[in-house]
């Protein structure tokens, strides 16, 4: 790959979870090693289960501070409740308090409380880690339960991955993205040179793929497709192929339904490390195609 300059980024996403995205990312990491991998699926980080990284550094992540009500100062006027658009003010036996799960930290209540009874508290919402995996450096994160701001945490993980690539002079970053099309996905697409969408050959897989493709078009990032479980329904697979051709989103690989992914996972191995299997071979071919494609992306 390119000898100089900034590392290239390949982001692997899927319209929804469970398509095999993380298993594919892990396989690519094995094939590309040494490479920087970033697990940006911070809501349900799983890549560490396959790559068993050793944590070298852990950094606290703070979410927006949320509101609290000082019971000694509150006179129960109810203004905060009138102004809050998120139904986050809880009234119980004339006591006003803030539901931390509903609070969006807009602090309108704090700004307007006539008694200055509302204050904010810092919230440590999670961590991100810089680790060494057997495939090279790895950046991953753990977001506290029911926390928000996963987009912001994804951005931190991505930046840390780019930094470590530069420090260790590695020219590729592999990003395991989150499912869906919301804020965390958008944050993980930023700066991607190529997106690989892993989809299932199912009705719902195709629908999710179309939405993910729209999102990539929206951000003008080229997208390539891997169809998993391609033999479950040849008809749907054919529809996916037709759609991909029309959408100019090339299919770079098709993987048959195989429980080897699961067996490898149980042994905490990537599929290319797990005994020789047909999907392992298929992934090697796909990876070669990806390398060819990356050469053409200046």
């Amino acid at each position: 790959m390119a000898e100089t300059g900034k590392a290239k980024t390949i982001t692997i996403i899927s319209g929804k979870g469970g398509t095999g995205k993380t298993s594919v990312t892990a396989a690519f990491a094995s094939l590309a090693a040494p490479v920087v991998v970033a697990d940006c699926d911070v809501d349900a980080a799983n890549l560490h289960l396959l790559l068993s990284p050793e944590v070298e550094k852990s950094v606290d992540f703070y979410a927006m501070p949320i509101a609290r009500i000082n019971q000694d100062l509150c006179v129960g006027c109810g203004l905060c409740n009138d102004l809050c658009r998120y139904d986050a003010i809880v009234i119980q036996d004339d006591n006003y308090s803030v539901d931390p799960l509903a609070c969006e930290a807009c602090l309108v209540c704090k700004e307007h409380c006539p008694e200055q009874a509302i204050y904010t508290v810092e919230r440590q919402a999670g961590y991100w880690f810089l680790s060494q995996a057997r495939t090279g450096p790895m950046v991953h994160a753990s977001l506290g339960i029911a926390q928000e701001n996963s987009g912001k945490l994804v951005t931190e993980v991505r930046k840390a991955a780019a930094d470590v690539a530069e420090e260790e002079k590695l020219d590729l970053v592999l990003v395991d993205g989150p499912p869906g099309i919301g804020c965390a996905v958008m944050a993980s697409l930023t700066g991607a040179d190529l997106v690989i969408a892993v989809t299932e050959a199912t009705q719902s897989g195709l629908k999710d793929l179309i939405r993910v493709n729209d999102l990539c078009n929206h951000f003008k990032i080229p997208i390539h497709i891997i169809v998993n479980k391609c033999d479950l329904n040849p008809e749907v697979t054919q529809t996916v192929r037709k759609w991909a051709q029309e959408a100019k989103a090339p299919i770079i690989g098709e993987i048959p339904y195989d429980t080897d992914f699961t067996k490898a996972m149980i042994e905490a191995k990537t599929i290319v490390e797990y005994k020789s299997s047909r999907i392992g071979d298929e992934l090697k071919n796909i990876w070669n195609t990806v390398l060819e494609t990356m050469k053409s992306i200046a």
């Binding site: 319209g15 929804k16 979870g17 469970g18 398509t19 993380t22 699926d41 809501d43 349900a44 799983n46 289960l49 927006m64 102004l83 658009r85 998120y86 799960l101 509903a102 969006e104 930290a105 807009c106 602090l107 309108v108 700004e111 307007h112 977001l143 339960i145 029911a146 926390q147 928000e148 996963s150 987009g151 989150p178 499912p179 869906g180 099309i181 919301g182 804020c183 958008m186 299932e200 050959a201 199912t202 009705q203 719902s204 629908k207 999710d208 939405r211 729209d214 999102l215 929206h218 479980k229 479950l232 329904n233 008809e235 749907v236 339904y257 429980t259 699961t262 996972m265 149980i266 905490a268």
Partner: protein, 281 residues
């Protein structure tokens, strides 16, 4: 009875379970809260009768009235406003619609308009009332749309509701599961499944919602889920066997009861177990 179907991550069979439970319950409301990837309709083919756009409020600034005091951008916690001279730049996508800037603006230069966040639709699928919504492409925040959808469905007033929730354990999931009487966590017997189940279980515990597990693709992996549930006292409500037949049916858009009718009794039992538990507890 409002039952939320959740899972730490996607692809575990949440929608499969939600559709099957709604089917065996008979008349009830099914709300597909996974607005980033709504899929339940593929298995139900509902007759859509209504669609409605959903909006959140965003500020609109009248430059003629703005004095450039900068109060609005001072109070905005999300950096959605920047004041340049006597005009204000609004970054729509960052706005959370809290209304703080409107309240802060003394010359009353700010009014509110709508930003389209997605489209909701609803109708009938047999004797089910079906609701879902699609997040607009490029719209980062799904919780306001989930909230609007749940309001539209008035799901917390209907007698029986099934909420098909989005994956993860962060704000969209919390928004969708919130207010449910019971939460079914769907998982599969693999290290990924166990890891995600653990996260999801902690989330529902924090929300104080009783929970049980449906183990999908039982037999595909190892015994980690049974061991975890036993150790934590979580009931396993049903085990759905791992079967290529079900997977093929799913790929073709068939619901699980059509692929494997023998599961109907199992799903009925799940409903009974939950309702008895709720009545006695």
């Amino acid at each position: 009875m409002h039952i939320a179907i959740a899972s730490g991550k996607g692809g575990t069979g949440k929608t499969t379970v939600a559709v099957a439970l709604a089917r065996v319950m008979g008349s009830c409301v099914l709300v597909d809260c996974d607005v980033e990837a709504p899929n339940a309709h593929l298995f139900l083919n509902p007759d859509v009768q209504n669609t409605q756009d959903a909006y959140v409020m965003i500020p609109e600034v009248d430059d003629g009235k703005c004095t450039g005091c900068g109060e609005c951008s001072r109070v905005c916690q999300f950096n959605a406003l920047a004041v340049l001279g006597k005009s204000v730049l609004v970054f729509n996508e960052l706005c959370h619609g809290c209304g703080g800037c409107v309240l802060a603006c003394e010359p009353k230069a700010i009014t509110e308009g709508g930003r389209l966040i997605g489209t909701m639709q609803w109708g009938k699928a047999g004797n089910l009332d079906f609701y879902d919504a699609k997040l607009r492409i490029g719209e980062p925040m799904s919780p306001p749309l989930i909230k609007a959808l749940k309001r539209q469905a008035e799901c917390l007033e209907a007698k029986n509701t099934i909420l098909d929730c989005p994956p993860g354990t962060t704000c969209p999931m919390v928004e969708a599961v919130g207010g449910a009487d019971y939460c079914i966590l769907v998982t599969e017997p693999t290290p990924f499944g166990l890891h995600d189940l653990n996260m999801a279980y902690q989330a529902v515990q924090q929300m104080d919602i009783p929970a049980g597990v449906i183990l999908n693709r039982a037999g595909m992996g190892d015994d980690c889920i049974q061991e975890y549930c036993k150790a934590n006292g979580i009931p396993i409500l049903l085990e759905i066997p791992h079967s290529r037949e079900i997977a093929e049916g799913y790929a073709a858009g068939k619901d699980i009861l059509s692929s494997m009718p023998s599961l109907e009794d199992g799903f009925k039992k799940v409903i009974n177990t939950i309702s008895e538990g709720l009545n006695n507890g």
